[in-house]
């Protein structure tokens, strides 16, 4: 592989030298038949994604695609991915992973299997034994340069990792950086990469200037929870969890600062996806959808998106009312206490004071329940609305892939026509050049077709996995929520049972 890396392909006008040191060996996807050489490489950083799939029998110069690809990308993508492997080098075909030595024996399994399916079965499908928690938010530094550091703890029995139980400290931009790397590697080949949490200028500024109040604490907690969910979703993905960037994020004590995180937030991604979608539409792609499945699924996701947004609004309203109820209960408790204080009749006075205390406790229950409403439901629905943008994104990438393939075909046709004309002229050099170009384009067309089929295949699997995860996710959350509801009622029963004798004892 080292050979490939040092041999810059000709005419790579858009060839970007990778900036950060760690990104040196961006995926030249290796041919399946040489696992041994890969394993021996001392490459300390990321692989480029899942191992190569069925189409690994054509060893070809994958750098060839690079320039074509760049021209189709929207400009945002370049900004977005400047931190990660450059688009110019990112091939469309599913590359093999560049295995890092520390993965050890696990990847023997990966190499003996030649298909995605088998890998999944081998790992037990979606029940990967790994749990991540994000905790202990700690303010580091002062003033506007301050930031929150979070402790990321991983507990796992997967052999992917060096230990079973370990922690690192990360800041918010690190999470965004991780997302950007994963997005640049996997989104365009059809993997649904979970989006990172939103950036929030207002929230963070308050925290930075040291405003220690209710709202800034709530903000930090909201963010902590979102980061945890983000990581869990990422590692639950059987392919993403093996990505070296993910492993590095979870394990390594020092992480180079992610730059340019402005565009890396979900909002930035959303903008990018929307712009890409617009670009796609502007190209007036009349895709001959040979597979009704895709059309149907796209419609299904449109519907789901609108339904989830409605639900989200509904839950927000519920959370709002419950918070209002808590405020009102607290105020009533105060007024009951005052009434009790002014009361002459001793037993009645005591009962009224007890009443005030009960109401204060109930207020606390309301607050806890409001948190459950929010953190369980509202955030779940919000997460899924954001996930759906990623889903839409992969569908759009599929369209773009198709378009590229079509463009190659059109170009090939033109070249053939030109060649035919050249036959009748006496320009052997030009003729040869034309023949060479045609050969190249034929390869491209075949690659384009393969890419399209691959991304379609990947999307099908991803969608199936997504749908199953969705059901599981909702069920898990709902069970947690019901437990909180039952718990609240039991508390109330305790409070009322304690109050009843006090009420009866008056007079």
């Amino acid at each position: 592989m080292a050979d490939r890396a040092t041999e810059p392909p000709p005419d790579r006008t858009d060839f970007h030298e990778v900036e950060d040191g760690e990104e040196l060996f961006v995926e030249p996807p290796e041919v399946q038949s040489q696992p041994a050489s890969l394993a021996a490489e001392d490459i300390s950083t990321n692989s480029n994604g899942p191992k190569q799939d069925l189409f690994d029998d054509d060893p070809e110069d994958l750098f060839a695609e690079a320039t074509e690809e760049v021209s189709l990308d929207s400009p945002e993508r370049d900004i977005l991915l400047s931190d990660g492997p450059s688009p110019a080098i990112t091939p469309i075909t599913p590359p093999t992973s560049v295995i890092t030595p520390r993965i050890g024996h696990a990847h023997d399994d990966m190499f003996t299997h030649s298909s995605f399916d088998e890998i999944e079965e081998d790992e037990g499908g979606d029940s990967l034994d790994i749990h991540i928690s994000v905790s202990d938010p700690e303010k580091v530094g002062d003033g506007m340069n301050a930031y929150m550091a979070y402790k990321v703890t991983t507990k796992t029995s997967l052999s992917l990792f060096k230990c079973n139980d370990f922690s690192v400290k990360r800041r918010f931009s690190d999470f965004l950086g991780l997302y950007s790397k994963l997005a640049s590697k996997y989104l365009h080949i059809g993997y649904i990469v979970p989006p990172a949490p939103e950036k929030s200028i207002v929230g963070m500024t308050k925290v930075k200037v040291g405003k220690e109040d209710q709202t800034s604490n709530e903000f930090v907690e909201k963010r902590r929870s979102a980061l945890e969910r983000y990581l869990m979703r990422t590692v639950k993905h059987p392919i993403l969890v093996k990505d070296p960037d993910v492993l590095q994020f979870l394990e390594s004590s020092e992480l180079p600062r992610a730059v340019n995180t402005q565009a890396l937030s979900s909002a930035g991604l959303l903008r990018m996806v929307n712009k890409a979608a617009d670009a796609v539409n502007k190209m007036t792609i009349k895709m001959n959808e040979s597979d009704a499945w895709f059309e149907e699924k796209q419609q299904h996701f449109e519907n789901l998106d609108s339904q989830l947004r409605k639900l989200h609004t509904s839950v927000e309203s519920l959370v709002c009312h419950r918070k209002e109820l808590s405020v009102n209960t607290a105020q009533f408790a105060k007024s009951a206490a005052m009434l009790g204080n002014s009361e002459d009749h001793t037993a009645l006075s005591r009962a009224l004071s007890q009443l005030a205390e009960v109401e204060e406790k109930i207020d606390q229950l309301h607050q806890d329940q409001a948190n459950a409403d929010f953190y369980l439901f509202s955030e779940l629905l919000g997460d899924y609305v954001r996930l759906l943008t990623a889903v839409k994104g992969v569908f759009d990438h599929r369209m773009k892939t198709w378009q590229k393939w079509q463009d190659s075909q059109v170009l090939l046709q033109k070249k053939r026509e030109a060649e035919a004309k050249l036959q009748f002229t006496n320009k052997p050099d030009k003729l040869q050049q034309a023949k060479d170009e045609i050969k190249e384009l034929e390869g491209k067309v075949q690659q384009g077709e393969r890419d399209f089929e691959q991304i379609s295949k990947t999307i099908r699997k991803e969608v199936s996995r997504f749908e199953k995860e969705r059901v599981k996710d909702f069920k898990t959350i709902i069970i947690k929520y019901l437990e909180s509801l039952v718990q609240t009622q039991h508390q109330l029963i305790k409070y009322w049972e304690a109050f009843l004798p006090e009420a009866k004892a008056i007079s």
Binding site: Q307, S314, V471
Partner: protein, 369 residues
């Protein structure tokens, strides 16, 4: 007035404690209340139809008993404010607890009013009470003449007398205590109303969420779709239960503690009015005394007589007031205790039912494959 009017009758022929205001008839213009009282003789019931104006008629008659000595010392059971068929937001706000929901609470408040009137040693003797409760025909619509008992007639300058220093320590302290209690009770009632209104809003929000979930149900044979649809349906059932729970909690609050706090606050106001009347009489007495002292010999005897009459009135009022204050003190403690116990019992029951229901949902979800 015709029918069975017993002109000289001053004793109530029905039980006071179990009068029921059972129904409201709404003919679009006015509300008519059906009042049922049990005959003392045990031989049956009286069913009468009364409008709010009839209640006012009764109240006016009670106010205008000038022949009863010390009548101004009575703490008159408070009549709820007038309700209308279609109420403006302002009126609803004024009514507080009595303005929310259906007429259930309003009827209960009217019922309580009648209990208190019929159970009052002085007031129950007024034949207007008998007429009101037993006469098939509506009582007369003539407005009784306005008198000092009608708060509306008290001119603004008289309110300055409210702070007038008392000659009696008992009453001075009582006036202060009552002032504090009136404020506290009113605030507590208002805050509790806010709680109940928010609970009702939450019930509505739960209902909306439940409905929105039904929109997520998609037809189709796809197993994932079916699984998700099942989840949505079951979840909407959970929110239906939440809605029921909230509704019940609000209802319990309203009909026990809410109603009680409302009554307590209005009753404290009624005592305040009584104390004010007494204070006015005190001022009158002090004026009469001064006048008698300063009167020229020609008028002196007359002034002295006036002073003596006023003094006697004042004494009567004091006597009645003291009894009323003691009586009222006992009644309100009993009332508060009853409603606190009822409130607690109802909320306890609701919490147990809800815990049960949520647990069933939890089991169903956990068991769902």
């Amino acid at each position: 007035m015709t029918g069975e009017v017993k002109e000289k009758m001053s004793v109530l022929t029905v039980h006071g404690h179990n009068i029921k205001v059972t129904e409201v008839l709404n003919d679009g213009d006015a509300l008519t209340f059906i009042i049922i009282s049990q005959k003392l003789s045990g031989t049956g019931e009286y069913h009468v139809h009364r409008t709010y104006e009839d209640f006012e008629w009764l109240q006016q008659h009670l106010f205008s008993q000038e022949d009863v000595p010390g009548i101004q010392g009575v703490i008159f059971p408070p009549l709820p404010a007038k309700s209308h068929v279609n109420m403006s937001a302002k009126v609803i706000k004024q009514l507080g607890f009595l303005g929310i929901g259906e007429w259930q609470l309003y009827c209960k408040a009217l019922e309580t009013f009648l209990h208190q009137v019929a159970g009052h040693s002085i007031l129950s003797k007024n034949k207007a009470v008998e007429v009101f409760l037993t006469n098939t025909d509506p009582p007369g619509r003539q407005r009784a003449k306005k008198n000092i008992l009608n708060r509306l007639s008290q001119a603004v300058e008289e309110l300055r007398k409210e702070g007038h220093k008392d000659v009696d320590e008992f009453f001075q302290s009582e006036r202060h205590h009552n002032h504090v209690m009136t404020c506290c009770a009113r605030t507590a009632a208002e805050k509790f109303l806010d709680v109940v209104l928010t609970e009702q809003k939450m019930a509505v929000a739960c209902g909306h969420f439940s409905t929105a979930l039904h929109l997520c149900v998609e037809p189709g044979e796809d197993p994932d779709k079916k699984a998700f649809s099942r989840v949505c349906v079951k979840l909407s059932e959970v929110f239906d239960s939440m809605k029921k729970n909230m509704t019940d909690v609000a209802q319990n609050n309203m009909i026990t503690l809410g109603l009680c706090l409302d009554l307590e606050s209005r009753y404290q106001e009624a005592e305040k009015e009584m104390l004010f009347r007494r204070t006015c009489k005190l001022v009158e007495l002090e004026t009469a005394t001064r006048n008698a002292e300063r009167a020229k010999p020609v008028k002196k005897a007359f002034m002295e007589e006036l002073k003596t009459a006023t003094e006697t009135e004042f004494e009567h009022i004091n006597g009645v007031a003291k009894k009323e204050i003691a009586y009222f003190g006992g009644v309100r403690v009993e009332m508060l205790q009853q409603s606190l116990v009822q409130w607690c019992e109802k909320q306890l029951l609701t919490a147990k039912e809800s815990a049960d229901q949520f647990n069933k949902h939890l089991q169903a979800f956990s068991g769902m494959v």
